[in-house]
């Protein structure tokens, strides 16, 4: 018996969530309205699910929301109608512009929001099947699963997972994991996979063996326990050793050893809905220690003590917040 997928959000709840979003956007939104909205959120778990869905898709939209990019976004998504005003770009120049250094592109065949399992931002979840296969999902991850008596097939569309697969004593069923950069095969192993969108896919084997095949080159590398590699758009890196233990996020921690502050915040931001940023001047301060992933307040308090920084929080009208780390002597925003 597999962990059940959630039923779709009911139609009236979806409409309510959209209506709330519009009300909160309006410049006549009051504190009373926000309280009513909070009340609606707490009324039923489906309400919170619907709101989480809005926030999750908004995060995608925000990636095109930098001031310099919104004009490009509008012109791309709603192009000007008159053909005379459009410039036709040379095909070869176009290809170079789009693909950059690496030639390979890999499209995900279907929309992420229709996947079997997805974790919200900050959520970690363990899935388990009757045959003993377990998958730990990290924050903001998306997974398709097809596990049955004669098949074990997973597809990582986004995020990060730890797969623990055992071999049936008499009827072994090979496990296959598809990622945008390559395919993994094993009969039994414990391994972690992380997909960095449009960038690379990392594979770490904690126990036993996994055969990793790059989409780009078709070459297969077999990783043993304590080995890891990266799959890129143009091929796989050679295996390198790592400490063969399950990743710290399984237990809810982020372990830093001399990590740059901006990289640390980027890792932390995966688990929180707030936007986390730091000034360029302090981006290369080093962070070390074991941090509880979900306790943002405690982490910021620790950073404030350990580093010469202060923390500013800006809350937007529709509820999302930006946390900005600044040098202690940076000018205060008015």
């Amino acid at each position: 018996m597999s962990a059940p997928a959630l039923p779709p959000i009911p139609v009236p709840v979806a409409h309510q969530a959209v209506a709330w979003m519009l009300d909160l956007q309006s410049d006549t939104a009051t504190d009373a309205l926000r309280r009513d909205w909070q009340h609606w959120l707490n009324q039923h778990p489906d309400h919170a699910r619907a709101w989480q869905r809005i926030e999750s898709v908004n995060r995608t939209l925000q990636r095109a929301a930098m001031p310099a990019q919104t004009a490009i976004a509008h012109a791309t998504l709603t192009p000007p109608r008159s053909p005379r005003r459009r410039q036709i770009i040379q095909a070869t120049a176009a290809l170079a512009l789009l693909t950059g250094a690496a030639g390979a592109r890999h499209y995900l065949p279907w929309p992420v929001w229709l996947a079997d399992y997805r974790t919200a931002v900050g959520e970690r979840r363990r899935l388990a099947w009757a045959d003993g296969t377990t998958v730990d999902m990290n924050t903001d991850s998306v997974l398709n699963v097809n596990i049955g008596p004669h098949i074990r097939r997973l597809q990582l569309l986004a995020g990060e997972i730890l797969v623990t697969a055992t071999a049936h004593p008499t009827h072994p069923v090979a496990l296959q994991l598809d990622t945008p950069h390559g395919t993994l095969h094993t009969d039994a192993a414990q391994f972690a996979v992380r997909h960095w969108p449009h960038h690379r896919t990392d594979v770490q084997v904690v126990a036993a063996h996994v055969a990793v095949t790059s989409h780009a080159t078709g070459a297969t590398t077999t990783l043993g326990a304590g080995q890891q590699l990266q799959l890129w758009a143009d091929g796989a890196t050679a295996p390198v050793p790592f400490e063969a233990i399950a990743p710290a996020w399984i237990d809810g921690f982020l372990i830093a050893q001399g990590m740059r502050l901006d990289d640390f915040l980027a890792e932390l931001a995966r688990h929180h809905r707030q936007t986390l940023a730091c000034d360029p001047a302090i981006a290369n301060l080093r962070v070390s220690g074991v941090y509880p992933l979900n306790d943002l307040g405690r982490i910021l308090d620790t950073l404030r003590i350990a580093l010469p920084i202060r923390v500013e929080t800006l809350t937007r009208p529709w509820g999302t917040a930006t946390v900005r780390l600044r040098a202690t002597d940076a000018p205060v925003a008015i």
Partner: protein, 158 residues
């Protein structure tokens, strides 16, 4: 099903596209869609069903090409594009492709209203001025786009 029909689908795609390499890629994409579905597809007419899925793959590809063309033209017109790295341009394109998929089928004015609200953070009143419509129209357009964009699966199951 794979072995039996894969060759046939590739040939069909090759005839339609005139490109055997591309046909192989799209045949693979089509089968990928099917092989990872949790519900077992018991199709009485497997080839007709395969064609349906393949048509969807083809129309996605066509939409993607149109988007890329619009993107390149938009970049050509924007001085800001020159300070973006190649990787940033590629990442922005992927983001826009996702948004394009979410907004597919909506009337142009609804897309405009929605993007002006969600990307540019304009108030409903400002959007009304920019689009030359009433504030209540703006809210209607945003509501329609938001419902489809955020809840595509809810839309699909009804």
């Amino acid at each position: 099903m794979y072995g039996e029909h894969h060759g046939w689908l590739r040939a069909w795609l090759r005839r339609k596209l005139g490109d055997s390499h591309l046909a192989a890629d799209l045949a693979h994409d089509t089968f990928m869609r099917l092989l990872c579905r949790q519900d077992v597809v018991a199709a009485h007419e497997p080839r007709a069903f395969l064609l349906t899925v393949a048509q969807r793959v083809l129309s996605n590809r066509h939409r993607r090409q149109k988007l890329e063309q619009a993107y390149l033209e938009a970049l050509a017109r924007q001085p800001e594009a020159h300070v973006m790295s190649a990787e940033d341009r590629a990442i922005l394109l992927e983001t826009l492709a996702q948004i394009d998929q979410l907004l597919d089928g909506l009337p142009r004015v609804a897309k405009r209203a929605f993007l002006l609200s969600q990307l540019d953070g304009l108030t409903h009143a400002d959007i009304a001025v920019q689009l030359g419509v009433s504030v209540s129209s703006v809210k209607r357009h945003i509501a329609r786009a938001a419902y489809q964009c955020y809840f595509a699966d809810v839309v699909a199951s009804h």
